[in-house]
Amino acid sequence: MSAPAAGSGGAPGRAAAGPPTWAPGETWRIVLSMTLICAAGAAILGGVYLGTERYAEASRQRNERAAVTELLSLGSDATVKEIRQFLSPARDAVIYRTGEAGADAGGNGTAEGAARAPREFVFALDGTLLRSGEIASANAGEKGLHPLGRIFVASRDGAPAGFVVEGEARGYKNRIRFFVALDREWRIAGVRVVEHEEDPGLGAEVATDWFQGQYVGRDLDGAANLDVTKDPMPEDWRDALRRRGTADDPAWTERYGPLRSRESDRPIYAVTGATISSRALTDGVRATILHFRRRWELLEPYLRAAGEGA
């Protein structure tokens, strides 16, 4: 902006400005035209905001559903229930809410059990149930609640098919938001970074299939002790991960299964030059799984009793 302010001395309006002599009507004309410009601008922006906001919300939900079914290798016939976790405003209770957040944004085909009223379960920090019951709307009184991430519970043909848990970590630049998928046996079925601002070529590598592939197949014990090493990744394992797509397909598992089981006891190999990002994601995944394990142990019996269990 410095250029036009200082560099356009030859502009006719500027050159003629000289000492300010204001004609009385002129001021009003200026005020009027600026007001008109501002009003028109605000109107355009308001319209664009309303339009894009709705679209962004709908597409976010669609993408999340797709990510959940893909991470758990489920088809489109799977049912996905969303449970949202909050900390109460006073940070003295944990609130779980079932039911759709934006119920109007559905319509993507998956059977959602749309008729069910949203329910709420409130636990004290030590794990005792404080209250439970139906609530008017899944978004009721959300102001002041601190979000703790969401849980997606997948089921197919009435049988449980796994979970996807949302987690967050503080990366090198900014927060990293990710999904951790656990299969029915509580093994990691996949990790996917859904939002990050890490440096391309460095920290951004944690969002690649090969890096995220390292987490797959670890059981609950392994996940609870996840660590990161700066050691170089063995060549054969690097090669195997590069050949893997977004998931372990049968052909890949047949060929590289032994490698997978060899590596599943070892720490995650950090991205060269991006140990901070690698560690941030790994610590985040571990914490997310540990938190989820404890919370699900508490919540699951009540969910089942309320007919919400998977």
Binding site: M1, A5, E195
Partner: protein
């Protein structure tokens, strides 16, 4: 403020305006305008394209808006009025990109918002759109926007290829040849090298005489 922007008496044709924006007065390489984003987001081609398209849209839309409403704008408040027009279009495009391309937007979001402070856009409004008829203004805006897009794609390709060994996310070389170019410091070197290259090209075309445009002050 050393660059001389030639102002023809008669609006030139569409092709001439387009070529002028892309090569003759390329905002980044020749005019050295709006450099911040050119270095910041161009670690990959995709980022460069995203920001380039945003700038293109903002430039065309605000040029056309100014050409349409310039009679209603009082000369005394010209600059504030232009700033508001640009800010409106930047906000609109910012929200649209955030809504439709959330993943790419996460990386370039701040710089899309900062388009509002780009010298290139307001200087085109001041130099061209405020005096020329609608149609040439459109072509000039398009040319400048394309020139910017072109520069960002070139820088992005250079850095992505050398830094991550890929183009548009497709891996070209298994290893990263010169990771350095993906780092912030690499961006400065990239621009320095490319600018010197364009300078040399210009000198060669003129038979060894020094170029006039780049090399003065940088703005934006």
């Amino acid at each position: 403020m050393s660059q001389t922007i030639l102002l023809p008496e008669r609006p030139p044709g569409a092709v001439a305006l387009l070529l002028n924006g892309i090569f003759g007065e390329n905002p980044v390489f020749r005019l050295a305008l709006s450099l911040c984003p050119a270095v910041a987001v161009t670690t990959t081609v995709a980022n460069g394209i995203m920001l380039g398209v945003a700038v293109l849209l903002v430039q065309v839309l605000s040029s056309v808006t100014v050409a349409l409403v310039r009679r209603g704008i009082h000369p005394r408040v010209r600059i504030p009025a232009y700033t508001i027009i640009i800010a409106v279009w930047v906000s609109a495009i910012d929200m649209t990109l955030a809504g439709y391309f959330p993943v790419l937007y996460a990386q370039v979001g701040l710089y899309v918002k900062l388009i509002v402070a780009f010298a290139i856009i307001i200087s085109r409004l001041e130099v061209f759109a405020s005096r020329m008829p609608l149609i040439p203004t459109f072509w000039d805006g398009l040319g400048m926007g394309l020139g910017f897009l072109f520069a960002l794609v070139v820088i992005g390709a250079f850095r992505e290829l050398l830094g991550s060994g890929a183009i548009l996310g497709h891996v070209v070389t298994p290893e990263k040849p010169l990771l350095f170019f993906a780092l912030p410091a690499g961006g400065f070197f990239t621009i320095g090298i490319l600018m010197a290259f364009f300078n040399a090209l210009e000198r060669w075309k003129r038979g060894g005489k020094a170029p006039t445009a780049a090399g003065g002050g940088a703005h934006g």
